[in-house]
């Protein structure tokens, strides 16, 4: 499994999309991950079952250019990242404007202030 990740700059995203498309690559997934400083968005492409990853590092509020012009199917990932993490993508082929996945709390995967609890908390009401 190729875990080599190429770091790129945010404005290069559409160029990478076009380059990958002309190289015969298939878009596999776009993943957003919170890291210690901000987030990283990873674009994974596949050719002959070999994965190729490109990664951008972003902060809250950054507008990310869409790779929709190259890969028409990218809108599902981009809308999802918008709804779950709160990033805006510019130039999506189909923009749901935050209605793709409705959640009870806005942007549930957005980084919270405190880290997640490490002990499983058992619901108190059932204890009686």
């Amino acid at each position: 499994m190729n875990m080599e990740i190429n770091m790129i700059n945010v404005p290069d995203v559409p160029n990478i999309g076009a380059k990958m498309k002309s190289g015969g690559y298939r878009l596999v997934v776009i993943t957003c991950t919170p890291v210690s400083e901000g987030y990283v968005v990873t674009y994974s492409f596949d050719k002959d079952y070999k994965l190729q990853h490109y990664r951008i590092s972003v902060q809250d509020g950054v507008k990310i250019p869409s790779i929709g012009p190259s890969y028409g199917g990218a809108f599902v990932y981009e809308n999802e990242i918008h709804d779950l993490y709160g990033f805006t993508f510019e130039g999506m082929t189909l923009d749901f404007k935050g209605t793709f996945i409705k959640t009870s709390i806005p942007y549930p995967f957005k980084k919270k202030e405190q880290t997640a609890p490490t002990v499983t908390v058992v619901n108190k009401e059932a204890k009686e």
């Binding site: 499983t120 058992v122 059932a126």
Partner: protein
């Protein structure tokens, strides 16, 4: 010709449908149906409570009770795997449904008595 075969098959073939309420429900030796608790072996180490993916089990060490909510248990059998004292096992029969008034948790009193030589148990 093919149709004749199908028709004849109907006469000599057992019905596909199980006659469920009259017939007992089908299951296999390995079917995970419901969880069975043996109160005489439990040392209240609380491993089952910690490792339950759906948090259906509550072990109260002070009150010496072991409680399971059948309506939360997912029958994964993880607790059976992590129990070091053979106090838990899986039975084939599924848990029964309940009307709103009957719904509740099942409570067991732990009857395990520590052997003569007391030694430290797992958990904190």
């Amino acid at each position: 010709m093919k149709m004749l075969k199908t028709i004849l098959k109907q006469f000599f073939h057992e019905p596909v449908t199980t006659l469920f309420p009259e017939e007992p429900p089908r299951n296999y030796a390995g079917t995970r149906g419901h969880l069975v608790f043996d109160p005489s072996k439990c040392t209240s180490c609380t491993m089952c409570m910690k490792r339950c993916p759906s948090q259906a089990i509550i072990v109260d060490r002070a009150a010496k009770t072991w409680i399971i909510d059948r309506f939360r248990c997912v029958m994964c059998g993880n607790c059976v795997d992590v129990c070091k004292f053979d106090s838990l096992s899986m039975e084939r029969e599924y848990s029964k449904s309940a009307a709103a008034a009957e719904r509740g948790v099942e409570k067991f009193d732990i009857t395990y008595v520590k052997p003569e030589k007391p030694k430290k148990e797992g958990g904190e």
